[in-house]
């Protein structure tokens, strides 16, 4: 397949930035770079990555399919990744799932008729402290409620997205306050 020169140069830069015995670690940064450049990682790109990093195709696919931030198809306009792991579920994610399905009129894996939203349930996105949470493209939204969800979706629909939430320490400086 045709890999743009910029990506080839960048891949070498990434690959050689790791010490010789750790070059396998180039896998994830290289995937993100490929995704930035090409929009997604297709099977052809997987082959190229496997060859470039010197790992098996199985390994590339294991990593690619593990991370929800790595995409195998070109991104839809807004990819809504909704966490359904334990912290989010305890904080009411199941009700919110039903709400978002009703609001968008689609179910897991489907895309709205206007092509604007694709909904995907994923595993933990690392935002347990601010559960329930979701990711829209690369924007994180925390402590969701039905009202907040409506606002966010309307924001995207109207072209004036609600700014994403910044992760804030809920307990202040843990080291200072809790250590005994």
């Amino acid at each position: 397949m045709d890999i743009p020169d910029t990506l080839v140069r960048k891949s070498e830069e990434i690959f050689f930035s790791f010490p010789p015995e750790r070059r396998e670690s180039a896998l994830v940064p290289l995937m993100f770079e490929a995704q930035r450049e090409l929009g997604c990682i297709t099977p052809d790109t997987e082959h190229w990555i496997a060859e470039t990093v010197g790992v098996s195709l199985v390994k590339v696919r294991e990593v690619l399919t593990f991370y929800s931030m790595l995409r195998r198809e070109r991104a839809e306009k807004f990819l809504v990744q909704f966490c359904r792991n334990i912290s989010c579920c305890l904080a009411g994610a199941e009700d919110l799932q039903r709400h978002v399905e009703k609001k968008l009129g689609i179910r897991n894996g489907e895309t709205t008729a206007d092509g604007l939203f694709t909904l995907r349930y994923v595993e933990c996105l690392g935002g347990c402290s601010w559960a329930p949470m979701m990711l829209v493209n690369e924007m994180q939204y925390y402590q969701l409620t039905p009202e907040k969800l409506d606002r966010i979706i309307e924001g995207f629909r109207s072209g004036r997205p609600v700014p994403p939430d910044e992760p804030t320490p809920l307990l202040g400086n843990v080291g200072e306050k809790i250590a005994v």
């Binding site: 199985v58 696919r61 991370y67 595993e123």
Partner: protein, 558 residues
Amino acid sequence: MPHLEINGKPVEVPAGTNLIEAARRLNIEIPHYCYHPGLAVVGSCRMCQVEVELNGRKSIVVGCNTAAADGMKVFNNTEAIHRIRSGVLEFYLQHHPLDCPICDDAGECDLQNYYLLHGLHDSRVELTEKHHKHKVHDVGPTVVLDSERCVLCSRCARFCREIAGVDELGIFEHGGDSELLNVPGRLLENDYAGNVVDLCPVGALTDKDFRFRRRVWYLKRTPSVCTGCSRGCNIYVDWETSRSYKNPQRRIQRLKPRYNRGVNEWWICDRGRYGYHAVDAENRLTAPRTKSDGESEATVDGVLDRAAEKIKAALAKHGPKSVAVIASSSSSNEDLFLLKRLFADELKVHSLDVTLSGEPKGKEDEILMKADVSPNRRGAVEIGVQPWGGGGVAGDDIVASALDGDYEVLIVVHHDLTRMLSQKERNRLGQNCDYILYLGTHENGMCHLADDVIPIAMWAERDATYTNFQGRVQRTWRPFEPRGEALCEWRVWQELGKRLGHSLPAESVAGVFDSIGTVVASFKGLTWEGLPANGIMLTGVSEPAYRKVQSSHPLPAY
């Protein structure tokens, strides 16, 4: 060497032994899915959790990734452990399809076994809510995957990576969507693929060759040795003959590897695993054949009588030079010993060999497979089935001389000479040899060329010993009788000996083996009764250095 207690029973194990293996020594099973002694430890299935007490400190650890320590007290049977395992099991069974009635693994499935030990709960998931995954997924030419039954232990993926040396299976996706699969367009097709079925603790990976053949509880199991190459991997023959309405011809249902640290560890190659079909193949020779005039139906006795007459006449007329024997290194030690006794020692036949340059060769690799596809070449060498004395003629030269008409009698075992000869040469061989006797197992060109044919028993139909390339003498056990009128090769030599006025040592295979032990130097001291199940090295041959196929994986200190 750490001393520890498991369920109150003391045991001493080598340093670095994990708790699952330590418990195994006491015949205590710590349930586990992902752990396998031949593979790297991953500690992912969480079934092997046990309570451990050391220096007054109590904790719950995984048995697979915890090294036994001096003074450790391990508990495998406490209420807490039972609760933990039952919780783990409930997760494993949450989306399990419960299709045991049609699952090949039912009866030898660790989901079933451990559910009886630690489960016995009712499902909290409605049948309609169960997740569905790939159900009948072709992962390769020999194996079928049912993802819904998979517990994601990753044994199969690790086997491919660590032992077979090719990454052919992986666990893809994330969390509840995780699924063991091959990469689209790439198949599980390494030479050892069948082992993933043995490794699978559940019914996720099943063997196409065995799929839906028999319920496993009908199978009978006999230890044996693979005769597919000169390594002689230790195997079990799983066989069943009473349900003849299903494949009446097929007695062996499957082969499974049998652990032997010095030979094959836990594995066998697919060439060996599926090689058993030859035993019950349609072209097996089951009755003697003759070209002799005036005989409507050949009998073994008739053939033996005639062979003895022909040999006697040739010896009387032209001496031992007029007889040649092309024996086979696929024959057992006992066969070759009696053959050598009769032809070399008694009849003084010099033209005697097992090796032909045109013999088929197999693939060889660094894992198990050997290019020499005969299981007993070392045995033939040790016993001395080779040209001897001044007039000794080697295999290829025997064939050449036979074409030139130098022999009155030519005896061939197993080798299909016709595959090494042109049509013209075949005709010449037929014309120039007064009498050709063939001992074989399957229909082939030799059956048509030879004047008389005696069908002989195959490895699975007999008690026998073979000497592998390392010099290890290993025995097989007979699960069932030879097909039709086939008889063990050593019996042919004994019967022929009787007819020629030479009584050969023994009337039973054990007796023949014992006399090898008194006559052949490198077999000195070996007896049939004294043969261990995992074989024994020839006298003066040292056990080869143990080379574990996988890289070593030290356990973390507790």
